[in-house]
Amino acid sequence: MFTVKNLSCERDDRVLFSQLHFTVQAGEILQIEGQNGSGKTSLLRILCGLSSSFEGNISWRGQDTQAHHAAYCQQLLYVGHHAGVKAALTAEENLRWMQTLQPLLNKGSLTDALRQVGLMGYEDVPCYTLSAGQQRRVSLARLYLSSHPLWILDEPFTALDKKGVVEKEQLIVRHVRNGGGCILTTHHDFDLPDVTIRRLNLDQLSAA
């Protein structure tokens, strides 16, 4: 489904990683590991098309992601380091805007999605009254609406409590069981039954 060939990235005259090869099949999770500064976020940004400082090939269903950027983005949901939440808009307005951006976000109940991330009762307040963690959860609420085949998630569990983490893990499992793919980074020990989790450690790569 998702194939990366010969990927190298250099930033500020430092090689972050080179000669990276991997694939993500439908029903698989790829967890990218590594210390801070090992290039996890850079790698995810490259995979999303948010960074062009790389060499190599990234293809999605046999098509180059750069050449077919719009078609690829249609299929992709990215939760990044920044929440992408507008502080002056309410949680509901933010989600509605994201729905216009992403046609594959279901037009289903926003209240429901917000309840799932524990923001019940916060639909109508501007997001600047929410904490940074709550703002991130507004962004994560998209996962409950998403029918994108590919998820790319940068540290999705940081702003969540224990219960929230478990729920998101279940959500990811449901997503891959339905034939989706997921690439994520996390510090969190991540072990799920009955799901293929591949691991890619960027530290070992650079040591080798």
């Binding site: 078609a71 939440v85 307005e93 951006l101 992403q102």
Partner: protein, 222 residues
């Protein structure tokens, strides 16, 4: 088109919720104009002679001032990233954002300008030319300025740089805009000037969105 109306609506809502960002450039516009009688002379003859130039220069600087933040908050909170990883067109986004920016800056400046024309003793037969030239000229200023804003959005010290990049490109609009008002003062026809301003607006509307989109892309990928 759905996407386009959504951007315009979103940016207008945001502007209405942060009213300071709308009011500040307008206040700046008025203060700059109020400085001239104090610095040059409060005499009617002097002021009415330089009024077209002053109002146009002040409008240009006020637009420039408000442009600095056009993409800043979207860049900082990650909204721009999300737009880049969506299938929507960045050029369309640029047009939508510039349109709502113009409604909250250039358009309001044009509405406010008759008041300032009175304060600077601009002959009343030129007020129509003033409002018309501002209505047709400021969209071009917003479009060109947005290129500069998109190029500098990822930089820490974009403020002065954007003026350096954009002001030289503003000169034709300034010349024809102020020229239209001068012609209005002298009772000459102004249709030619307005047509030129309109042509520049159409021309920049055709090309600027692509330059803005390319600039935004590189600023995000930087």
């Amino acid at each position: 088109m759905n996407f386009f109306t959504a951007i315009v609506r979103r940016d207008l809502v945001l502007a209405l919720r942060n009213r300071n960002e709308v009011v500040n450039p307008l206040a700046f516009f008025m203060i700059v104009i109020a400085l001239f009688p104090l610095a040059v002379s409060p005499e009617t003859a002097v002021l009415s002679k330089i009024a077209p130039g002053i109002i146009w220069v002040a409008a240009l600087l006020a637009t420039l001032l408000s442009l600095d933040g056009l993409f800043k908050s979207d860049f900082d909170d990650g909204s721009l990233e999300q737009i880049l990883v969506s299938p929507q067109s960045l050029a369309l986004l640029a047009i939508g954002k510039v349109l709502s920016h113009w409604l909250m800056s250039g358009f309001l400046l044009a509405l406010l300008s008759p008041l300032l024309a009175i304060m600077l003793f601009l002959p009343s037969q030129a007020v129509g030319a003033l409002v018309g030239s501002l209505l047709l000229g400021t969209p071009t200023l917003s479009l060109i300025g947005a290129i500069g804003a998109a190029l500098t959005v990822g930089l820490r010290k974009g403020g002065v740089l954007i003026s350096l990049l954009v002001l030289p490109l503003y000169i034709p609009v300034l010349i024809f805009g102020a020229g239209a008002v001068q012609a209005g003062v002298m009772g000459m026809p102004i249709a030619g000037y307005l047509a030129l301003l309109g042509a520049m607006m159409v021309f920049s509307l055709m090309f600027a969105p692509f330059a803005i989109a390319a600039a935004l892309k590189l600023s995000i990928r930087n």
